[in-house]
């Protein structure tokens, strides 16, 4: 008769020969679990994963590839090895795009058109393109990129989010895969403590050696396809999309929110939602706190430290913002404070291999055409600027003795 836990324990001892009764038995079970995980990862192969498939279709040359996996995929990135190529790891948020009805492209791909080879080696660009990236995401991507030992690193620092602490991270799937790269830098530990959950750490470390855990996104995708057939539910209709200015409490407005930030921006708007676009954009810029008081400072500091210590040519730059922004009073001052603070942080990480262009790139260029606040519609002059910057850095570092960017293939004669 079973009356208490001890009776259960006795029964198990009699029937199973004392399994789990001692520390050694438990240890053997843990060991068999690990063996089991290894066996599952070997026997049940995860389907191959293709990074950035939708974006890569838009890039004409295969020398430039988006290496970012899905935003839910804990593996983060998938790069290609090619020792013969000169590999540039180019990290950036949506400002890497050129968006216009006539032409959608990526700025790194347009730069590659101008610099197809370095020292006789074809230039290969691994694009760590993180749409909607915030500063912690850029740091995580940079750490992952540096671990692949590229020949050069480029980092795009969108000034809107650089010191804006309403949104420091967005790609939380990178936490696990980045942990093992960031943990070697004790100064980054406060960031790991702030952003990583225990499961990020455990799975990040275990996933590197155990495909059964590391490839869980691919398993989930495969499983979802199977389970969809079994489900009695119909495929739901698309979420309602808001048209025009809707009530922020409406279902359509809530359905359009893809991140908590959307909620806060809607209910605690940085500027009067009825004001003109330039004023609203300025409100977003003014949310930045470039006074050294926010966690963003530590992220930028460690990002620049990683680049300075990488031992390969590295450039961090601030992409241009729309001239429309400067129509609003105080916009120039707000942006200048961000630039100045970035320069102050960069001064602490001087290195012959690192160039930090803290000034918004549009200040030194002829008027540019924009799709919106930060996305270019015609990137020609900016591509020229970046190509010159890369060549200048490669020559200064004596990586090559000759580097002359080609002309703009889309320039009107």
């Amino acid at each position: 008769m079973i009356r208490n836990v001890k009776d259960v324990s006795d029964l198990l001892d009699r029937r199973l020969g004392g399994v789990g009764a001692g520390a050694l038995s438990l240890l053997r079970i843990v060991a068999w679990t690990l063996v089991g995980l290894l066996v599952i990862g070997t026997v049940v192969r995860a389907p191959a994963v293709r990074p950035g498939a939708a974006y890569n279709k838009k890039i004409k040359t295969t020398w430039v590839r988006d290496v970012t996996l899905d935003k839910n995929d804990p593996r983060g990135f998938k790069t290609r090895k090619d020792r013969k190529a000169f590999t540039i790891a180019w990290i950036g948020p949506s400002t890497l795009q050129n968006i216009s009805p006539e032409r959608y492209s990526f700025i790194p791909a347009d730069v590659r058109e101008r610099i197809p080879e370095v020292n006789g080696r074809p230039v290969k660009i691994d694009m760590y393109f993180l749409s909607g990236a915030r500063v912690m995401d850029l740091y995580a991507a940079t750490a992952n990129a540096l671990a692949t030992k590229p020949d050069m690193v480029m980092v795009d620092l969108n000034p809107i989010w650089l010191f804006n602490d309403t949104a420091i991270t967005s790609w939380t799937n990178l936490n696990g895969v980045s942990f093992r790269h960031l943990v070697g830098d004790p100064a980054s530990w406060p960031l790991l403590a702030a952003f990583d959950q225990p499961q990020d750490v455990v799975l990040g470390l275990a996933g590197a050696k155990l495909p059964a855990l590391g490839d869980r996104w691919s398993y989930a995708q495969k499983l979802r396809e199977e389970l969809t057939h079994l489900s009695a539910l119909d495929i739901p209709s698309p979420a309602p999309t808001p048209t025009g200015r809707t009530d922020p409490k409406s279902l359509a407005a809530v359905a359009a929110m893809s991140a908590p930030l959307d909620f806060w921006q809607l209910f605690r708007p940085p500027a009067d939602p009825r004001s003109d676009r330039a004023t609203r954009q300025l409100g977003l810029l003014r949310q930045s706190r470039p006074d050294g008081s926010v966690l963003n400072d530590l992220v930028v500091d460690r990002l620049l430290a990683a680049l300075a210590g990488a031992g390969v040519p590295a450039i961090a730059y601030v992409p241009p913002v729309s001239p429309e922004l400067f129509q609003a009073q105080g916009a120039d001052e707000a942006l200048s404070r961000i630039e100045q603070h970035l320069a102050e942080l960069a001064a602490q990480h001087r290195s012959p291999t690192l160039v930090v262009k803290s000034e918004e790139a549009g200040r030194g260029l002829p008027p540019l055409t924009f799709n919106d606040l930060v996305h270019l519609a015609e990137d020609g002059p900016f591509v020229t600027y970046l190509s010159d910057l890369i060549c200048g850095q490669l020559l200064a570092q004596r990586v090559t003795t000759s580097c002359v960017p080609g002309p703009d293939p889309r320039a009107t004669p």
Partner: protein, 47 residues
């Protein structure tokens, strides 16, 4: 000094049960973490 006997026949059932429990746990762990990750492709709507 007399060497201790391994007494495998008596212990074997326990070892086999430990192996089975370990493998079942591995399967459950894999399934649990597979279920914890969303595989619906992410579509970004902002900037």
């Amino acid at each position: 000094m007399k060497r201790p006997r391994l007494d495998l026949p008596r212990r074997l059932p326990r070892y086999v049960v430990e192996l089975v429990i370990g493998f079942v746990l591995a399967g459950l762990v894999t399934l649990a973490f597979t279920a914890s990750v969303s595989s619906v492709p992410f579509i970004y709507q902002g900037f």
